[in-house]
Symmetry: C2
Subunit: 485 residues, 2 copies
């Protein structure tokens, strides 16, 4: 696969012919911006970055790569947190940011069709005046693309009630790794004839095909929303309040929790709102629906908090206050940058009932590693985000942080949970797949990949551990610009 | 594959060794009960029926079949409506009805673990006193098994709000077509690392593996329910009321519609409730949730019906009345037997907004074929069940009914819908897969089947049209006891 300078030029020239001369980057200085995504631990230069403007161009690029044995992968906004868009093998990156049109909105049948580069939040903004919205709301929604959301099966704070991306995808146009184009649409149907290709492709982390058109479900705005903020002196009380709320039969639209270190972070970042820094846990609880029903639910939630020794609990008094609370919460991960030179976001899931035990074990991992670990999580569905704080300039700390993150995932797997709730496996958690799957179960998946992607040119080396992993890591460390940034 | 009497005996003897002598049927008289499922148009005798009592026994039977090139398939209660459990190739039927234990219930984390032969309704009955239920409610729920529900991704009247089976499955233990056992569990997680095998297996109609253990989500009973019955003189008004209700932002738990012929049927069957026979459409609308919210929603629903010229609209005055309305509705398909010697259930899906147009086109198909077509449907999610009434004793009527049913599906596909909402493809709709998928899209699916099921011994000939289909049909007609019953 080693190519002479001349061959490289030929490929670049040919790719430029497909997408247009202005729609390709190939100089090292330009490529540096594409050497990683939101997972910055591994960095690798791509061979080139192309910006197709149509499905046809995507298909032609893919066919060219196939014919010339060039590895390739698709990229959205590059906000992914597990390294799914990192060009591990010097891939040709197919950036979909120029395919960013909102193609149609059908309010009557509650669906919209977008191109993959369309930004998540723009969809809600485009239909808000008609009283509709798009439910999946990852914290990066102001930047991340719906194509990327499909690849990662992105979640968000409001997924407790409304489900993750896969629950909102009604159809996909996909360029297969061979360059063929297929169209899988449920047209709003609950069940799809044949195998659930839509479900299979959603969350396949860019390893089975490149999505070029997406039909999504849109929802009617709830008549009303109310948001509660509750401060607890003890983390156990906060955890127990989460369980009690769910047990009472209420399904909040969102039920978020932050621990002491996380609060220190968000209060040091862009949108501080004055959370007390000496509490152990904070809950942000939102209910939505019909006004009268909400009043009743809020009453119940306040009562639950009181029986669990809440220090202070309050209901947002205005849309503006509600907005400030959410802005504060959504700075969560980034806010860690305000209190630590580096941080590693983890993403595990546990049965809700094991929350106190798991938090205690994470605490122990923190003590043993000597690294602080903040916890921000979608408590309602047991999706934890331990944030391991470290300083990459200190020798050995990066490795320690990675090990501590991995240990957190092992705890999640141990208690009957799993290793990712919404960020995907990517490069980051390939080895941790073994915590939850046997060799046979992994083989059942790689066999599927091989059917779609027989040459393994599309986004190779992601999602699965491989017998050749040690060799691969070595190669990465040699070829990567910085193996550990 | 032709085997002498002696070889057959050997296989029967060996299978009997695995499951026990009393757990196998092989005499023709016994096998007759297994020559079809709820789709009675094709009938074929199995080679034998075995009743394993454990996952291990299932795996051993599967391994035996593989080693001896015997085709095999799994069967639940045999209530499937598309022929998924018909032994087209003289299969060894692996009946799962003896694996019918409720293994565990975890109220705190809202999940239960069942064996595949556990009957759907029994789950709700087992947890009702604790205030919980299992949401998917196919009309056959008093008999159908949860294993069968997983195979077909079964729906039901209440799937409008709560989703179909796939939305309620948290984990599966699966015997692969090779006899290997895999365990895929989300443990209640919204997203699963790796590919969504759970989604892929759910609804794969018994062609990718045999499910031997199922973890399902259970839900807390809503605080309250209310049910509305509305009679319309014109079907267009009924359809428009459906659209209006959904547009208003209400998500009813169920929104069912029946037309005139369907009403004639249910009023002639086991649970008549006195619906007027001269109306063109009836809506059965149920909302659930918090009491105060419901009152508000019912008010809105009554208003919508009035603006759409409803003849009469009423709210159930007691749980008993509500129960009678539902019992009447749930006799729906079977009730056709009271007004026609034979009937064919179809199962198409359309965008809600196309309802009046599609009903007019189905009406035209009825006129042209000379066969009456009743319509019962989950109107809220656009899932139609045209019921083609015919008399198999009249020469040519069966073929006419099949053709009319297929035409109804073509109309659904034409308006941007699809060919099955909840009954599956099975044998019945193999050819109609071409209405919604290209050859390439079908190949993407059969390639997946071939990965799981390389020898195609498991439930062959289902779900996909095949180039060899003409030859296959001929063979069926020759080998089947009666090709058209």
């Amino acid at each position: 696969m080693k190519k002479s300078m001349q061959t490289i030029d030929k490929d670049i020239m040919n790719l430029a012919k497909i997408v247009g001369e202005k729609e390709i980057l190939f100089k090292q200085a330009d490529l540096l911006a594409y050497d990683c995504d939101g997972f910055t631990i591994h960095k690798h230069l791509p061979k080139a970055v192309v910006f197709p403007n149509s499905t046809k161009e995507v298909a032609e690029v893919v066919k060219y790569c196939n014919a010339n044995q060039l590895p390739f992968l698709a990229r959205g906004a590059g906000t992914g947190l597990s390294g799914g868009a990192i060009p591990l093998n010097g891939e040709v990156i197919i950036s979909l940011v120029k395919m960013k049109r909102l193609l149609s909105v059908d309010l009557e049948n509650r669906r919209a069709v977008v191109e993959p580069g369309f930004v998540n939040l723009k969809l809600t903004n485009s239909i808000a005046d008609k009283g509709y919205y798009y439910a999946p709301d990852p914290s990066s929604q102001y930047a991340c693309t719906i194509g990327g959301n499909v690849a990662e099966n992105a979640g968000g704070a409001h997924c407790l009630k409304y489900g993750v991306t896969t629950n909102h995808i009604l159809g996909l146009e996909v360029v297969m790794p061979s360059g063929e184009i297929i169209d899988i649409s449920t047209n709003g149907v609950l069940d799809l004839p044949g195998y659930d290709l839509l479900g299979l492709l959603t969350g396949s982390e860019g390893t089975l095909g490149i999505v070029t058109k997406i039909t999504v479900r849109i929802l009617k705005n709830p008549e009303a929303k109310q948001t509660v903020l509750a401060y607890f002196d003890k983390v156990e009380d906060g955890s127990q309040a989460v369980s009690d709320i769910i047990s009472s039969g209420i399904v909040p639209a969102a039920l978020e929790m932050m621990d002491k270190i996380a609060i220190e972070g968000v209060e040091s970042a862009a949108f501080p709102v004055g959370h007390p820094k000496d509490i152990e846990a904070l809950l942000l609880i939102e209910v939505d629906g019909i006004s009268v029903g909400i009043t009743e639910q809020i009453k119940q939630i306040l009562e639950v908090c009181k029986t669990r020794n809440v220090r202070e609990v309050k209901v947002a008094q205005s849309e503006e206050e509600r907005g400030r609370w959410w802005a504060n919460r959504k700075t969560g991960f980034g806010a860690m940058g305000a209190i630590s030179p580096d941080y590693l976001v983890q993403d595990g899931v546990i049965p809700r009932s094991r929350l106190p035990e798991v938090l205690a074990r994470i605490n122990k991992i923190s003590e043993e590693s000597g690294l602080r670990i903040a916890n921000i999580f979608h408590a309602g569905d047991g999706n934890l985000h331990p944030l391991v704080l470290f300083d990459a300039r200190q020798p050995g700390q990066t490795e320690k942080a990675l090990a501590a993150g991995s240990e957190c995932l092992r705890v999640c797997a141990d208690v009957g949970g799993t290793i990712t709730g919404e960020h995907g496996v990517g490069i980051e958690k390939r080895e941790e797949m073994r915590f939850v799957f046997t060799e046979r179960e992994i083989a059942a998946q790689t066999d599927i990949r091989d059917v779609f992607n027989p040459n393994n040119l599309l986004n190779a080396g992601k999602l699965f551990p491989s017998p050749g992993r040690c060799a691969e890591v070595k190669k990465e460390m040699k070829n990567g610009r910085e193996a550990f940034a």
